[in-house]
Symmetry: C2
Subunit: 721 residues, 2 copies
């Protein structure tokens, strides 16, 4: 659903109406258009079969033109899909999909390689434009969030990896926390740009994306979205006179439904609850089915690049066929006589009542939804005070089509967002429910569509406050707020009772070690020393270590951090001679940096501070990467020493070995750690000052359960109870 | 400003108009009332002095009636203030003030005694109604937040302390985290009830009140406010026909300004920035002056209860005098002829154009603001498309009056909120600025008033997202959102450059040990062992301890937690005999509970689990309170033993002694601790397994600087640079 699509479809339709006018004049049905409208609509409704028959002959006579239109449509869609798919498969596989789960994981502490690079950014922008223009059932919201984060990350580090600016002030951002803050701001800006929803963007970033919240982060994201909304407004003002095509339609509010007055009473709680419950059930069912489809797709995608592209093209062709031919299934509806002639039927790019295959004075309600950009489709289906605009059959077809397309489009190798497909599905479901309620409620059907969209979103994504504000800012109807809140809460609660949110499902499928907010109850009965015992013994280094030992350790382990222990030191109190001291933790990256620089000492001695400063700049130490395989050390050098003290982090976070896993996990997540040292609870000569080291992987419930199968059993038996 | 006030004033005015009709007929000015309106207004504007002269004689003739009105007003205000003040001073001193700083501190981990009790709740409700009705310059928003939190706390623990329900399900809430969550939900509900702003309430709770955020907390607060808004709507619907006085006016939106279309262009950024900058300066100046006044008041209040009450009564009399007499200073304005006669002038409880001392066809603009409830005053000053309604002089008087009243009212011993006074001041300032801008901008003056209120709020309270949403939900004008965001951000930034937010100032004045989000930079260069060395040595207990020693420790220290250390144990590996073991941390409350129960052992032995279970229920251990002074131990008992092992928390959080204070503080705050144990980095025989213990007070910047004066000096020299 995009500009091209509607343009093609419309140009075909317009062609018919003009070029084939002579044929139409001979058509008895079109002659009757001059009769009074009321009479005609009576005739139509009393004898639908005759109309269908007439239409079929009409179609046959226009076969060639329709076929041409179809080929234009399918061809252009196919080419655009091919562009998006080849870009994603060939240049930046991380640009496929929405990117939101990976950003969520990054802010939780899991870095996906090449996620925020310049190539990814360019592929995401171009690919997203191509994919949305190709009429695929996907949104631009997820990609915009990813684009925002990419820009934030690149700005923060001073440009792409290869051509990085080395400005002094950029160093301020060159730490993990500021990078995280910047990426959160970028995500908020993305949502703000997608929905023109500044507060919704802030809340989305905080509710769904961020792991660590701070008050400062709140106003920083707020500042980003304020800038976005000011820029957006400036563009909309500039484009007001139609200079930029469809951009800027609706001003700052995309789907305004404020014209209708919301009136509801105590009894309306029943339909509102029904919307919420069904929305929750449908949302979790959608999550379940999407999980299955994604697993199937991952099997196909594993077979190679060419399979990925072919899969995308298949989905594109299927989409084009459905979008073009399904409107022929429904019958034409007569225009409401109270509307001006220019409003119904329409043949332009936009409009609520598309003529398509219908005679003058009639419109095809399904074409109004399918032959339009997604934004326009939502606007049409949200339209208020038009209770008879859409037939139930059209809505059923629309809902089913988007249900199927949504499931099969999301996993293909193009940038794709989840928001708009779910909003489209949900609005159709809401409007259908509104039709089914009939005269029971006083709530407008357009508002039912809004509530339906909200319920399906909450049922699938399980957000509350952010969705509430996004829908408020999309529709500009503050009086709808209390109902929206109830619908969202019910749908989320119902959905949560079936399965986790869609982003959690995707995180799990991608195997990203996301650390949940709350420890499992059984973690309270396990101590960290139990965990440490189940792992291979901890590898420690001495404060002044032999090069040979460092190389050996780096080659034989994959650990990213090593405790540094000094033996035979004299504590300041002079109590005991021959004590051991926990000096701190050294990172693999720093060890590799030392080996690369060949910063070796001939004898076993401590270095001075100036020696270190001379060798390593703070920028060098902030860099990651560098592999032990790339380092060549001669045999002589192997016998030399390295003083690890100056490169060691002397203030690592620690837990005592008797600490429960649950509390260790809280510490790990709240403080945002990569390594957590375990120290002994005993104090005596000969006890090692480090008992073990815990990483993110050690604290994941899944991994603990595979190491301690009896816990999994006890967990299951608890569930069974 | 309350109902009584306007009623009295109006009844006096009405009396004049009717009872003194014979006098008025003799008045030449009132005879001219039958002349055409347009002509009259010309006469008025051409010769204002004549009118003032006429009015003065008019007033003199009505002296007695005005005096009666003034006595009624002042008397009723005085009585109401007396009620509120005596309740607060006599029964619940914690109910005075807004209560928000204490709630903020509670959620940070600082418990103010008697803050959430049943007495406090009742005094707060009754006192707040009395104080607002007394026409004092204070809001009901802060008290509503406190009331919400009190209700949440009482519900969570099953009722007031003395008559507590012992239901089983209530135990689920009987832990600190759930209590915190409930109180956060209560705070959100309070804001929601005050402003009919559900999303704003959630954001206020999260941005300003809560210290620890979680996604789960987000939807829980959202659920609370959803319930509040549904109940509110039901009441508003019920009261629609005027059954409940002024309640429910304006429906769900209190100050609707959506009728005016917002149009602004690039150049409007200048006035918007000016609003923000001046708002920020005024806000921080207000904070500064309020700080001074509160310090002065604390000196007065220290002198005793009677001084507190007298202070409140003085403020009340001053307020009444100003409210009643100031409107006489301004001249009457002619009604806009396009308005219907019933709209201007008005003599009822509400209305935008109050007649007060003016002849028919005229209104007193200052009386419209001062002789009304605060809500009505805001509604009047926010009124849009009425550019000539308020004279600059009236606005200047109004702004100055509320600036002075706001400063001197806040600290008196009645429940008082800060929101509405600042909104009133800010709206007057905004409207004045709008008048000053004249024709430079296209923004309506009513919107200027909204922006002024927002800027002063942000300048004083330093919130952003929550204020933005609260103002959105108060005014229902989504198109104003981008400007509001800019104003808020500018005002906050300007304000932050001068002094901290008003709540932080109050927290500091009250001496609550609030733990800031970010450690100071100089904390990175200080280790926790430096801190521990500056304190008295740590007091440890043995696993099985003599009663005499426990009593002695409890009597001679005020610590709330003691490390428990076992000596001479054999580690499982059998490496060293005579090792010492850090068993954990025991709370003072549990030690007192043991002494009270006299759970003593004759010999030095470890107890079995069933012995402990028999003695202590989980509810007993969750209770706090109990003082060592209340415990009597005989001389024989002193020689007995207690096994502390089963009552010890075996998984305390710890840091190694080389840890920096900055990182220890992050751990302390993020995980929400009361005690943090320091363990040695050395491992040897004879080293104590606990080096020290840190509490909240030890980690406060202020306390560290007084223990390490050289850090304070280096900090100042850094500032000087």
């Amino acid at each position: 659903m995009e500009e091209d699509l509607s343009q093609h479809a419309e140009s075909t339709a317009t062609h018919n109406m003009e070029g084939e006018a002579s044929k139409e004049e001979r058509d008895p049905e079109s002659n009757s258009l001059d009769q009074p409208l009321l009479k005609r609509s009576n005739t139509l409704s009393s004898n639908p079969l005759a109309i269908v028959g007439a239409k079929v002959s009409h179609i046959e006579s226009l076969d060639y033109e329709y076929l041409k239109g179809f080929i234009y449509l399918t061809g252009s869609n196919l080419v655009l899909t091919l562009v998006a798919s080849i870009l994603c498969v060939g240049f930046a596989p991380t640009a496929a999909g929405p990117g939101i789960p990976e950003i969520k994981a990054y802010l939780n502490g899991v870095d996906t390689p090449n996620m925020f690079g310049a190539t990814t950014l360019i592929v995401k922008i171009v690919g997203s434009i191509a994919a949305v223009s190709a009429g695929l059932d996907l949104g631009k919201e997820g990609p915009l969030v990813h684009i925002g984060s990419c820009i934030a990350s690149l700005l923060g580090q001073g440009g792409p990896d290869n051509y990085r600016l080395k400005w002094r002030w950029l160093r301020y951002f060159n730490n993990d926390r500021d990078r995280r803050d910047l990426i959160t701001c970028g995500a908020a800006s993305g949502v703000c740009a997608a929905f023109r929803s500044p507060v919704g963007g802030v809340l989305f970033a905080l509710e769904e994306v961020a792991t660590w919240w701070r008050s400062a982060l709140l106003w920083r994201t707020f500042f980003s979205t304020a800038v976005v909304v000011v820029v957006l407004r400036a563009f909309i003002e500039y484009c007001d006179s139609g200079k930029c095509g469809l951009f800027g339609r609706g001003g700052l509010i995309m789907f305004d439904v404020s014209s209708v007055t919301v009136s509801y009473h105590a009894m309306d709680i029943v339909p509102v609850a029904i919307i919420g419950v069904i929305g929750g059930v449908l949302g979790s069912l959608y999550n379940y089915l999407l999980h299955k489809v994604l697993r199937l797709y991952s099997l196909i995608n594993e077979k190679g690049r060419i399979h990925k592209v072919v899969l995308s093209l298949t989905v594109s062709i299927f989409t084009s066929v459905c979008l073009y031919f399904l409107p022929f299934l429904v019958s034409c509806s007569p225009c409401d006589p109270s509307l001006p002639d220019s409003a119904c039927p329409t043949t332009g790019q936009t409009g609520n009542f598309k003529q398509f295959n219908c005679p003058n004075g009639y419109y095809n309600d399904l074409a109004s939804l399918l032959h339009a950009t997604s934004d326009d489709a939502v606007r049409n289906i949200f339209s208020t005070s038009t209770p008879t605009e859409f037939h139930p059959l059209s809505l059923v077809i629309f809902f089913s089509l988007y249900w199927i397309l949504g499931l099969f489009t999301f996993g293909i190798a193009v940038p794709s967002g989840l928001f708009l497909p779910i909003i489209l599905m949900g609005s159709a479901y809401g409007r259908l429910l509104g039709l089914a309620m009939g005269t029971y409620t006083q709530i407008d059907q357009g508002l039912y569509a809004v509530l339906g969209a909200a319920s399906l979103m909450a049922g699938s994504m399980r957000m509350t406050v952010s969705l509430c504000v996004i829908f408020l800012e999309l529709t500009n109807n503050l009086l709808l707020l209390p109902i929206t809140m109830i619908v969202l809460l019910i749908a989320k609660t119902v959905g949560d009772s079936f399965n986790p949110s869609i982003y959690e499902i995707i995180l799990d499928l991608k195997g990203l070690p996301f650390l949940d907010a709350n420890p499992e109850p059984w973690m309270r009965n396990l101590t960290v020393s139990d965990l440490a015992d189940a792992k291979p013994g901890v590898v420690t280094l001495c404060g002044v270590e032999k090069v040979a030992r460092i190389v050996e350790v780096l080659r034989n382990t994959t650990h990213n951090g090593f405790p540094v222990v000094d033996e035979g030191v004299v504590p300041p109190m002079g109590l005991a001679i021959g004590a051991t001291e926990l000096h701190g933790l050294i990172l693999r990256a720093h060890l590799v940096a030392v080996l690369k620089k060949k910063w070796f000492l001939m004898e076993r001695r401590r270095t001075e501070e100036w020696e270190v400063r001379e060798q390593f700049t703070s920028v060098e130490l902030a860099e990651r990467g560098g592999k032990i395989e790339e380092v060549a050390v001669t045999k002589d050098e192997m016998e030399m020493y390295v003083d690890l003290h100056p490169l060691t982090n002397t203030t690592p976070y620690t837990v005592v070995e008797s600490m429960s896993v649950a509390k260790a996990m809280v510490l790990f997540r709240q403080v945002g750690l990569r390594h957590l040292l375990i120290v002994p609870k005993y104090q005596a000569a000969g006890v090692s000052p480090v008992v073990g080291i815990l990483t993110r992987q050690d604290l994941r419930a899944h991994n603990i359960l595979s190491a301690f199968p009896h816990l999994a059993k006890s967990k299951e038996s608890e569930k069974g109870k």
